[in-house]
């Protein structure tokens, strides 16, 4: 690969958009060519400069309030159900529509294959993640110190989640929280990448160890699941999948970092 071929690929390389074989060629060229190496370094500093928190504008509370005020709210119209004359149908209509509803329900049951246990769990993970972001209840214990966060879970859950700070890799730990998933209390570890919050749900698993692997994105959130050392992990964030995968691999690697 020469400079002319390599130059237009440096951006896509930095963005994680190249095939494995091309990555190797670009990396080899950057090692050998000082001009392209300089361009690569400059691009890396630029990308870092562009992702600093100070550049991200968050929505003013007033905007959020105004939008919510425009939406139909169940709170403002609680009497709605009473206004509807539900019970003055004659019995035949009631029976017929009842029978129809039962048929429809049965049909739906047959047609819709039931979501697998994992899909249901993934949906619960998304709901917990969204709940944690909405209610400003992301953290029960706010600390960037793994030696504070880990002991905090003692006595709150019947297991000790592996906690480690990944600040060096660009994913600082911000704290932890108690959450409820799949019918049990779980530990939620909270990390951050720029403005993106990453929730990691951890609980003891009865499944074989498996490496981090992405699941189908749900509602715009990326999900990564893995199991290690008798614990199951679900990482979720609106961060892009590539960076979330880096995060999951960092967290999964050398998991025995204990206080």
């Amino acid at each position: 690969m020469n400079c002319q071929q390599a130059k237009p690929l440096i951006g896509p390389y930095a963005d994680g958009e190249l095939e494995a074989a091309t990555i190797l060629e670009v990396e080899k060229h950057i090692r050998d060519c000082s001009a392209c190496a300089l361009e690569w370094r400059n691009l890396k500093s630029l990308k870092k400069a562009l992702t600093q928190d100070a550049l991200y504008f968050t929505a003013p509370t007033e905007l959020r309030r105004r939008i919510e005020a425009e939406l139909p709210s169940p709170r403002r119209e609680v009497h709605r159900g009473l206004a509807r004359p539900v019970w003055n149908w004659n019995w035949l209509t009631t029976m017929t529509s009842g029978a129809f509803a039962v048929c429809l329900a049965l049909l739906l049951l047959v047609v819709q294959s039931r979501p697998s246990a994992e899909q249901q769990l993934a949906q619960e993970v998304v709901s917990s993640h969204v709940r944690s972001l909405m209610g400003s209840h992301v953290l029960d214990v706010a600390s960037t110190d793994q030696h504070t966060v880990k002991p905090w879970f003692n006595g709150k859950v019947d297991f000790s989640p592996p906690v480690k700070d990944l600040a060096a890799a660009g994913f600082p730990l911000t704290g932890g929280r108690l959450d409820y998933l799949g019918g049990r209390a779980v530990a939620a570890l909270v990390f951050q990448r720029n403005k993106h919050i990453i929730n990691v749900f951890v609980w003891p698993a009865r499944e074989a160890d498996c490496n981090p692997a992405p699941r189908k994105p749900l509602q715009g959130y990326h999900l990564i699941h893995w199991s290690a050392g008798g614990m199951t992990f679900w990482a979720i964030s609106d961060l892009n999948e590539k960076e979330l995968m880096e995060f999951a691999q960092d967290l999964a690697a050398n998991k025995t970092v204990n206080p």
Binding site: P8, G11, P12, D15, E17, A35, L38, E39, R41, N42, L43, S45, L46, K47, K48, A49, L50, T51, Q52, A54, L55, Y56, F57, T58, A59, P60, E62, L63, R64, R66, I67, E68, E70, L71, P72, S73, P74, E77, R80, S127, V130, L133, M134, N194, K195, H196, K216, P217, L218, Q219, G220, D238, L239, N240, K242, E243
Partner: protein
């Protein structure tokens, strides 16, 4: 997937779409360049999103909301700033000198949020949005292409040009004596 009942739909909208309001506002703020107009565009887009929420089928609510923010912004732009230069004149005609050929860009300017903010604000709007969508939102080229309704090649060329312009203005700002 989206409930028919108004109230259920509002609840689903609050859970699925509104968590991405920060992203919507951030994009609107960078596109319009000021708080007041960003507020209007983000609000208009969010209400439009609710109106069309019934037709939302995808699994990426953030990308969907941001594509509506783009549309609302362009409607707003035609109404309020018809003279704003969009990319037609800059996309192909702008020939940018390669700044990295001259200078190591690892300099304090890059850590200075104000300098970076100015450099982004100076970009033509169609280049600017690529930077926001790629660097701040972390979308892939494919996602950006779908969201902005342009070919992937255009995403790549605009992003590359935007980066060259940013490097140029950040390194130039660092070395004021340097002839442009």
């Amino acid at each position: 997937m989206v409930p028919v009942d108004d109230h259920e739909r509002a609840k689903a909208f609050e859970q699925i779409v509104l968590p991405h309001l920060d992203a919507a506002y951030n994009l609107a703020r960078w596109l319009t360049g000021n708080d007041h107009d960003a507020h209007d565009v983000a609000q208009e887009a969010s209400l439009r999103a609710f109106k069309y929420f019934g037709s939302f089928r995808g699994d990426n609510a953030r990308a969907w909301l941001l594509s509506i923010v783009r549309n609302s912004f362009h409607t707003w732009l035609r109404k309020n700033r018809p003279a704003e230069k969009t990319v037609e004149m800059t996309d192909e005609t702008l020939d940018i000198e390669d700044p990295s050929a001259r200078a190591e860009a690892v300099n304090p300017q890059f850590a200075d949020a104000d300098a970076v903010r100015r450099a982004i604000a100076e970009l033509p709007v169609d280049f600017r949005e690529m930077v926001i969508l790629r660097e701040m939102e972390g979308f892939s080229y494919k996602e950006i292409a779908e969201l902005a309704d342009v070919p992937i090649g255009t995403v790549m060329s605009r992003l590359a040009r935007a980066r060259k312009l940013l490097l140029k203005s950040l390194t130039a700002a660092f070395k004021p004596g340097d002839p442009r």
